[in-house]
Amino acid sequence: MESVDRQNGDLPRRVLVVDDEPTVREVVARYLERDGMIVEQASDGAQALDALKRHPDLVVLDIMIPGTSGLEILREIRQGGETPVILLTARSDETDRVVGLELGADDYVVKPFSPRELAARVRSVLRRSRVRPSAEKLAFDGLVIDTAARDVFVAGLRVQMRPREFDLLAFLAASPRQVFSRSQILERVWDAPAEFQDLSTITVHVRRLRNKIEADPLNPRWITTVWGVGYRFEP
């Protein structure tokens, strides 16, 4: 994250696209270039590893590529820092997808995907990694959210959070008691129109968040469900 944060907002962002299918690479590159990004393409593991030495701002990574596996490359990227990664996976690669997210991928898109959707995700992830943290601290009884340091403390103990989990918690906690539907959360936190992201993304993140911050995740105290409406943060 630091490596991208220090960049000036006016510099074009550099994106590495790794996929073995030339048409897919070319189309994705066109869409990203239309958004003012500089795109480098790699068709296999070796090329990808070589291009990573030039420190792109974001990597679009196909899991199924010749040579080194996409997950290997992801591991490599994570060892080198916090460069955002969006995975391209086949629908049946559920296990790979889960492993990918565990390894620290920021998002994934299922093939066959809409290039428009992918471009929107890339913009969304880059925008998030460029966000200047407000020096605010949200403190509740037993839960502290430090938006500047992006740290969460439950009963005084620091809790490890993925970027999106933190964003979601900070967003809900910033407006206590206000109910947000899943589509609203997608648009405001994920910065993605609902048609490009599945609502289950929100359900999954709320579940993970509850597992991390709730004393009894099965009877949540902080993030409650308002049936038929959405989620809200209880101060």
Binding site: P112, I202, L218, T225, W227, G228
Partner: protein
């Protein structure tokens, strides 16, 4: 048998010698000093040796014999000849009167003949039953699974007959199941083939029109092609999912999951679709209801059921997703449509079902929704069924969360 169990065969071969020894001792005991021990010994042990040879050779010869009846008859005759020779020679040794010897031989022949008749009749019944067993097995081999041996024998042959009959019954059941599967598979392939070809044909026509500059509004053609691609993608995804479910290779990790949340999510996700059809959808839940399951899989199940209900709901009606905890999550999705036709109620979860016109594609359904839902619920060791009307209600129940 002789080759596989040499020990048993050897014991059997020693039996005539043992019987000969006992006979010899008995003769000596009965006759006392007046008995000609040497000639009698020669006769008894000679006969025993001949019988031993018979025990060793006959089973092997019988393998080559074409008739069980002939073999048993031959064994009887051999035993009779050995005994006859033994009687004659030993009678001569003890110097029997010619008249006594004649009577003895005649009575012996009489007894031996009765023995042969009895053996023959037994062999005949064995042989008839074995032939019937063979004929039954041959008919089954030719695919006539209705063939039965059906004998009342309680011995080994009877048991063999019963085993063959049981095998035939199992084959018959498998065959009829296979026939049903085959015909539903053909119907399935025909329906899937139709739904694959329709968008392909449309795309091909549109692509050619665009190439030849005959598409006055290219944007409309491109949008139509993308819609067709979406339909194809959905269908291919569904087919793969079904193939993996049926092959038992779908792997998903189970987590503790709130079925009410998934219902809530499904309602929100399908609200736009319902709005297009002027259908209202509503979640009715008793609160958090937990199960252990795959989040994506259960979410998919709920959406399939809801999507199916919306497709069949009349405009202006309401579809309800009811979630309760009844020793595990119990979910019912109810619409106020025409309901399931009675004759299809049990088959609604099987294969490719599409009750409405081919334009059902516009709501995103592929006709595989209920089949997939059933397979997914079964993969969770749950149960799914059609509840009685009015309207159509599909319910499923999942096992409760195991205690911590």
């Amino acid at each position: 048998m002789g080759r596989r169990l040499p020990l048993r065969a050897l014991t059997l071969a020693a039996a005539p010698l043992l019987v000969g020894l006992v006979t010899y001792v008995a003769l000596l005991t009965v006759g006392g000093a007046g008995v000609p021990a040497a000639p009698l010994g020669t006769v008894v042990f000679g006969s025993a040796a001949a019988a031993t040879l018979g025990v060793l050779i006959l089973p092997r010869l019988s393998l080559r014999s074409s008739s069980l009846r002939g073999t048993v008859l031959a064994a009887g005759i051999i035993a009779m000849v050995i005994t006859g020779v033994a009687i004659t020679v030993s009678s001569a040794a003890v110097m029997l009167e010619p008249l006594q010897l004649s009577v003895l031989v005649i009575i012996f022949l009489f007894g031996a003949s009765l023995g042969v008749i009895l053996e023959f009749s037994l062999a005949r019944s064995l042989s008839v039953d074995l032939q019937r067993l063979g004929a039954t097995a041959r008919r089954i081999g030719r695919g006539d699974y209705a063939a039965r041996a059906e004998f009342g024998r309680s011995d080994e042959i009877g048991e063999a007959g019963r085993v063959i009959d049981r095998m035939a019954i199992e084959l018959q059941t498998m065959e009829s199941e296979r026939a049903v599967a085959q015909s539903s598979r053909q119907a399935f392939l025909a329906a899937v083939g139709h739904d694959l070809r329709t968008p392909l044909a449309a795309m091909r026509a549109a692509a050619e029109a665009l190439e030849d500059g005959l598409a006055p509004e290219p944007a409309r053609y491109y949008a139509a092609m993308r819609n067709d691609l979406d339909a194809l993608t959905g269908l291919v995804d569904d087919l793969f999912l079904i193939a993996r479910l049926e092959g038992g290779v779908l792997q998903f990790s189970k987590v503790t999951i709130d079925v009410s949340e998934l219902g809530d999510e499904a309602v929100e996700a399908l609200t736009p679709v319902a709005r297009l059809k002027d259908v209202r959808i509503r979640l009715d839940t008793s609160g958090h209801v937990y199960a252990s399951g795959g989040p994506a899989e259960l979410s998919r199940t709920l959406r399939n059921l809801l999507d199916n209900a919306i497709r069949h709901a009349p405009p202006g009606s309401e579809v309800i997703v009811r979630v309760r905890n009844e020793a595990g999550p119990m979910v019912c999705v109810q619409d106020h449509g025409p309901g399931f036709p009675d004759e299809r109620r049990d088959r609604e979860f099987e294969g490719y079902t599409r009750t409405d016109a081919p334009d059902g594609r516009t709501t995103g359904g592929t006709g595989l929704g209920l089949t997939i839902a059933k397979r997914l619920i079964e993969a969770h060791e749950g149960r799914i069924w059609v509840a009685p009307g009015p309207g159509a209600t599909v319910c499923f129940h999942l096992p409760p969360l195991p205690p911590l």
